[in-house]
């Protein structure tokens, strides 16, 4: 399994390195590009774990859609680096505090899992079903045991989407919109009229 070990260390180093680069590079567009690299190598790590479905979903959803929109927004914003750096010293203690708490929590959870084991919770890890790929296994679990949570998560996303649309949708009066049905319904009778224009008067609409 030397090949797997090489692949793991390579992907892990790239993940951590590009993760660091996300927060340290100056140019925000480069930052997003490094974020994409991080996602991509994380997907590679999933593949090494044998979770090919999760790996592909990570790439399709996060790299293919979410990060594109990030990049889209960041490219269009004209980020002023001077203004960004101004508040650095002021927000440093608060940011450090939040980062510290987060790190502590993660270490606590990680040690709890490592010593107690994730399996010591209320539910035993599912035994691998014979002859099923992990895509099918995930499907069975999501749509049977966890179907309510799954649907609830979908509803939360739907509400968020509708909220975003409601907040940003404004109908400007006086904007001419294309009504396809009207265009299709036009024919020679109602689409044309013949007008006699007298010299010097014009149409006078």
């Amino acid at each position: 399994m030397a090949l797997q070990a090489i692949a793991f260390y390579l992907l892990a180093i790239v993940t951590i390195g590009s993760g660091l680069a996300v927060v340290s590079v100056r140019n925000p567009v480069h930052s997003v590009l490094f974020l994409i690299l991080t996602f991509f190598s994380a997907a590679g790590l999933f593949l090494l774990l044998g979770a090919e479905f999760l790996a592909m979903l990570l790439v399709v959803v996060y790299v293919g859609a979410v990060a594109v929109l990030f990049l889209f927004v960041v490219m269009m914003l004209d980020v002023d680096f001077g203004a960004l750096k101004q508040g650095f010293a002021r927000y440093m203690p608060l940011g450090g505090l939040v980062a510290g708490i987060l790190a502590a929590e993660m270490i606590v959870v990680a040690t709890a899992v490592a010593t107690g084991g994730a399996a010591s919770g209320p539910r035993e890890p599912m035994a691998a079903l014979d002859g099923l790929s992990n895509t099918e296994t995930i499907g069975r679990v999501l749509y049977t045991d966890y179907v309510y949570f799954f649907q609830a998560a979908g509803l939360v996303l739907l509400v968020a989407m509708i909220g975003a649309i409601v907040l940003t949708l404004r109908h400007k009066p006086g904007v001419r919109r294309q009504v396809i049905a009207d265009q299709v319904a036009r024919n020679a009778q109602n689409g044309m009229r013949s007008v006699q224009i007298k010299p010097g008067e014009g149409m006078g609409e």
């Binding site: 399709v60 293919g64 594109v68 889209f72 895509t135 294309q178």
Partner: protein
């Protein structure tokens, strides 16, 4: 014989075998692309009653190779204000991704570089990454037209990926697997078993859903590869050449090869998902007495013919259909294709659960 099988199982032999397969596929695609590019120009010219390129070689057959030499020998110009690393990286990403997707494409029985379980998802993932080459190229050029082109492209590709995803789900529902080789194998035994006709006579009512889905997929594929009538990212009358304005010589060549490799890939995906991949359109019981290699060649011939046919359709669309306006493009993607394909997914799923083949996966 025993010694050779052992050698191919060792890491060294395995790597050598994989590299050899990848090279074989890549060289085959590059060679095909050279002639498909010429075919594209010839078809376009034919529709407009021109002759097209006809000077280099007989009937202009070697035109693509002359173009290749020209691109390679020219000087690479990098604009002054460009972000150099990203500028060079963008065409490389386009090129690499366009070829990476071919890894899971089943070319014939047993002819596939990597026969993975989530092949369909892999194709979706790689094609959704393709947008980065274009966005990065447009942004790194530090120029207005490329930037506008790349913004258009990003919005367009993200929009049409959604409907492509749903169309693919209908096929996955019918097939019950995401392995491309299995999807093709299930369409054996004649054209009525192809998924465009619902996959088998028992599923014949699905023809009402799958034929429109194949059309939706074809049109979405045009949008996804920035082909006319959806070539707004490179609309020459508005944006000069969109995201590739500042590119010259080899980087431009990489962009162009990547673009055409993607187009052919889309043709191959339509062939595999809807039109039976390497299956012949009639029952082939006589194949069983053939040696395995001959069977593979027989299958490959069909796959190649079907793919070229869809490439011909795409080339004809370029010659015939005028360019869409951008708001019309978005309307088509979000207000027509997305609801249609969503309803199709629901109907196909309902057919799978309540139809005659209840619960059979």
């Amino acid at each position: 014989m025993d010694a050779t099988t052992n050698f191919w199982a060792t890491p060294g032999g395995w790597t050598l075998l994989a590299v050899g397969q990848i090279l074989a596929v890549m060289i085959w695609i590059l060679l095909s692309l050279a002639f498909l590019l010429l075919a594209d120009r010839k078809i376009w010219a034919g529709v407009q009653m021109r002759k097209g390129p006809n000077m280099v070689g007989p009937f202009g057959l070697l035109q693509s190779f002359a173009d290749f030499l020209k691109f390679v020998l020219k000087e690479i110009v990098i604009p002054d204000g460009a972000d150099k690393v990203v500028f060079i990286l963008a065409p490389l990403i386009s090129f690499v991704l366009a070829f990476a997707a071919w890894a899971v494409v089943p070319l014939a029985p047993g002819w596939v570089v990597s026969d993975i379980n989530v092949g369909v998802l892999y194709l979706l993932a790689i094609s959704s990454l393709g947008v980065y080459g274009i966005i990065m190229g447009g942004w790194a050029s530090n120029s207005k037209y490329p930037f506008l082109g790349s913004l258009r492209s990003a919005a367009q590709m993200v929009s049409y990926e959604v409907s492509i995803g749903f169309v693919i789900i209908t096929v996955i529902l019918l097939a019950g697997t995401m392995n491309l080789q299995t999807i093709v194998a299930q369409q054996a035994g004649g054209f009525w078993n192809w998924y465009v006709f619902g996959g088998g006579l028992a599923n014949l009512p699905m023809i009402l859903i799958m034929v429109p889905m194949a059309v939706v997929f074809f049109i979405s594929a045009l949008a996804e590869t920035n082909r006319p009538p959806f070539d707004l990212p490179e609309a020459e009358s508005e944006l000069v050449a969109g995201y590739q304005v500042e590119y010259s010589s080899t980087p431009y060549l990489l962009f162009m090869i990547g673009e055409y490799a993607n187009i052919v890939l889309m043709c191959a995906i339509i062939t595999i998902l809807f039109f039976g991949g390497w299956q012949a359109p009639f029952p082939t019981p006589f194949l069983e007495s053939w040696p395995a290699t001959a069977q593979s060649f027989f299958g490959f011939m069909w796959f190649f013919a079907k793919t070229v046919f869809f490439f011909f359709l795409i080339a004809m669309v370029k010659a015939i259909v005028p360019r869409y306006r951008y708001d019309q493009l978005m309307r088509l993607g979000w207000k027509i294709f997305l609801p249609t394909s969503l309803v199709a997914v629901v109907l196909v799923a309902a057919w799978r659960v309540f139809g005659p083949a209840q619960g059979a996966i």
